[in-house]
Every structure is written in structure tokens, then in C-alpha cells.
């Protein structure tokens, strides 16, 4: 599957052919750092001064590289396809090899970062519980009523929420039974067949 690059993108990346391959390697390293930790505009200023070009063209070059890497990693394109897509830019043989190297080395890590960006539901963080016995209330004395109080902590991205629930032991047993049934469902032949095919 070939990557189709827009005109603007090609223009931004065109800047890379004007500089040394060593500098392109450095830009590649900066691009990967930015993908992992976020961009730092000060680096553009320093590089612009050293190379005697505007910091805007440096920014475009690095961002163009970042986009190229994320798109290729997202689509998981093969080496051949990557090389064909990059040929369009008209870079030298050495530059093409450098870009391919950059792609292959960092593909797995970029894919890991991209996998965390998808939408997600709140998921389990922690569960606290407590077993109480109600002995008396204002209305009725001499009772014996066991209850289980649960505090379910959920996490959704950066947000934490807590839900307080209360149940009697019989309902809790039923809940446990249903959850164990859900777990044994994983071991059924139907599920195992599907899991084998995915792996």
C-alpha cells in the first residue's frame, strides 16, 4: 500500500534534501523524541542558527518527518512500499536508506504510542471493600443484618472516579458466580478458536 503525500508535505520534506545526511539523521532522532515526549520549540531555534536557515523551515522539516513516520507506522507499510512512497520526493539514495532505517527501527515504539490514543472506556483501578453488620437503627433494635460496602475506583485517561456500592452477601455470591461464568467462557472451544486465529 503506497503512502500518498500531499503537495505541502512534499514541500516541507524537500528542505531535507538541501542539508547533509548527518543532519537528516539528527532531525530523525529529534522527530522520534518529539513523538515520545512532545515537541520542544527551542530546539528549532538552535538548529536554525547553526544551519543558517529560518526556524520555520526546520520546524516544517521535522514535523514533516514526524508525520511521515506516524502515517507509515499507522498503516504498517512494508519496506518496499515505504521506499516507493519516498521515491516520489526525489531524495538521494543515501537519504532514502536513512529514512527507511529510521522507519524500521522506530516502527514498533510509534505503534505503541499510537495504540494509547484510541478512545477508551473507564477501566478498573482499585476496589476497596468492607463487611459490616447492622445491629440496630432508630426504628428497630436487635437486628443482625450483614452488608458488604464496596468502593470501586475507575480510571478514564487522567480522570479518576469512585463509585460506592452496597450489597448483601447473597447478591455478592450471585455477582461472583456470574463473573466466574464470564471467565470460564474464555476457556470454551468457541472463544479459543477465535483467539487462535487472531494470534
Amino acid at each position: 500500500m503506497l503512502l500518498v503525500l500531499s503537495e505541502e508535505h512534499k514541500e516541507h520534506l524537500g528542505f531535507l534534501s538541501e542539508v547533509d545526511p548527518a543532519v537528516v539523521g539528527e532531525f530523525g532522532r529529534i522527530a522520534v523524541e518529539f513523538l515520545k515526549k512532545g515537541s520542544n520549540p527551542k530546539i528549532y531555534e538552535g538548529a536554525a542558527r547553526k544551519l543558517n536557515v529560518s526556524s520555520e523551515s526546520i520546524q516544517h522539516g521535522v514535523e514533516g518527518l514526524m508525520y511521515l513516520l506516524t502515517e507509515s507506522s499507522k498503516l504498517m507499510i512494508s519496506e518496499v512500499d515505504f521506499q516507493d512512497s519516498v521515491l516520489v520526493l526525489g531524495f538521494s539514495e543515501e537519504l532514502n536508506k536513512l529514512l527507511l532505517q529510521l522507519y524500521l527501527e522506530n516502527r514498533k515504539e510509534i505503534r505503541q504510542i499510537l495504540s494509547k490514543l484510541g478512545p477508551s472506556l473507564p477501566h478498573y483501578h482499585n476496589l476497596e471493600w468492607r463487611l459490616d453488620v447492622q445491629l440496630a437503627s432508630r426504628a428497630l433494635r436487635h437486628q443482625v443484618k450483614p452488608t458488604v460496602t464496596l468502593k470501586l475506583h475507575l480510571e478514564d485517561g487522567a480522570k479518576r472516579s469512585a463509585h460506592v456500592l452496597q450489597t448483601d452477601p447473597a447478591t455478592l455470591q450471585h455477582l461472583i458466580h456470574e463473573l466466574e461464568r464470564a471467565l470460564t467462557e474464555l476457556k470454551s472451544s468457541h472463544c479459543r478458536r477465535i483467539l487462535r486465529n487472531i494470534k
Binding site: E128, W129, R130, A136, K151, A162, H163, V164
Partner: protein, 199 residues
């Protein structure tokens, strides 16, 4: 195999695996490591520099250091949770393969601090909506827009409690007439007598 310190359940596999990691450091260093872990469990802060110095002889990597702290925290917290005496803990750990000197060191630290550990665990047990402060004031209403001579005492109560779901402090202010307040006081005194009878 059922172990008392695991609450009469099987010992988790990761604990078995990490016990062999623990056996790699000398028993003296392990006792000092236990002291650090107990300090962490009691929320007194753990000194990671000391820990890395203790484990540097056995050339522990960062993964091994984390694993040994985790397994010691588990053993000590679990033993305190299920109120296991130090002899049973000692024999069970030796059954799991921890060498005798390490076990004696661990059990000595446990015995010194197990009451403090249980107190800390009791404090951190689930409690919903703790009452943080009670302020009160008695007013005497002389007159109002409805009636010229009111001459009635009222109590203003301000309760500061913790919201069970968000853990933030919520303030509730109520004003109570003398009769209602008398009823409230009697009922609460009855509840207090019942609580004292239970202690």
C-alpha cells in the same frame, strides 16, 4: 497448598518466584531491606538510595529491586492482615523455600512492628464520608417579621464531612429548634450507649 499468611489460599506464583530472588542477598541486608519496606508500609517514606546500596552487592537490576520490595510488602502486609503469629509465618516461609536466616530476620522485624502495621491497616480500611469537624452555636431569636415576640432559642450546627465519592470536604449547616434538638440528642445518646456496650 494452603498458607495462613495468604488467608488460607494458595500462595501466588509471583511470590514463589521472587522468594528465590530474595535468597540472593545476604540475610543481614535482607533484614535492613525489611526495615525499609516496613517504613514504607507505615507511610514513613522509603529511602530508595539505601535500598539500592543494599542490593548493589547482589547486582540487582531495577526490575529485581522492585520485585523484592513488592514481595516483602506483600508478605508483611498479608501476614498483618490475617493476624499470623511470627512462628507460623516463619515455618510457612521456610516451606516456600526462603533460607532460615532470612526467615528469622524477616520474622523478627515483623514481630516488632506487627501491631503498628495492623493499626495502620485498620486506619486505611474503607470508611465512607468521615466526619471531620462539628461546630455549633446557640442563638436566641427575639423577634421576626412574622411575629413581634418570638423568644426562642435555636442551635446552629455546622458539620464538615468527607464526600464518599469525591473525597472532598462538604459543609452542611442546619439550624434546629430546641424540641427537635432534644429529640436528636436523646436518639444519639441511645446510639452511644449501644456503641459503648459493644466495645
Amino acid at each position: 497448598m494452603r498458607f495462613r499468611f495468604c488467608g488460607d489460599l494458595d500462595c501466588p506464583d509471583w511470590v514463589l518466584a521472587e522468594i528465590s530472588t530474595l535468597a540472593r542477598i545476604s540475610s543481614v541486608k535482607m533484614k535492613l531491606l525489611c526495615v525499609q519496606v516496613i517504613k514504607d508500609l507505615l507511610d514513613e517514606g522509603i529511602d530508595y538510595d539505601k535500598v539500592s546500596k543494599l542490593t548493589s552487592d547482589a547486582k540487582f537490576e531495577s526490575g529485581d529491586i522492585k520485585a523484592s520490595i513488592a514481595v516483602l510488602s506483600f508478605i508483611l502486609a498479608s501476614a498483618a492482615k490475617h493476624d499470623v503469629d511470627s512462628e507460623s509465618l516463619s515455618s510457612e516461609l521456610q516451606q516456600l523455600g526462603l533460607p532460615k536466616e532470612h526467615t528469622t530476620g524477616l520474622c523478627k522485624s515483623y514481630e516488632e512492628k506487627h501491631i503498628a502495621l495492623q493499626e495502620k491497616l485498620r486506619e486505611s480500611s474503607l470508611r465512607l464520608g468521615r466526619l471531620e469537624a462539628v461546630n455549633w452555636r446557640v442563638d436566641y431569636t427575639l423577634s421576626s417579621s412574622e411575629l413581634k415576640q418570638v423568644n426562642e432559642p435555636t442551635v446552629q450546627l455546622r458539620l464538615q464531612a468527607q464526600d464518599p465519592e469525591t473525597d472532598s470536604t462538604q459543609t452542611t449547616t442546619v439550624s434546629i429548634t430546641a424540641d427537635k434538638f432534644r429529640v436528636l440528642l436523646t436518639e444519639l445518646k441511645q446510639a452511644q450507649t449501644m456503641m459503648n456496650a459493644l466495645q
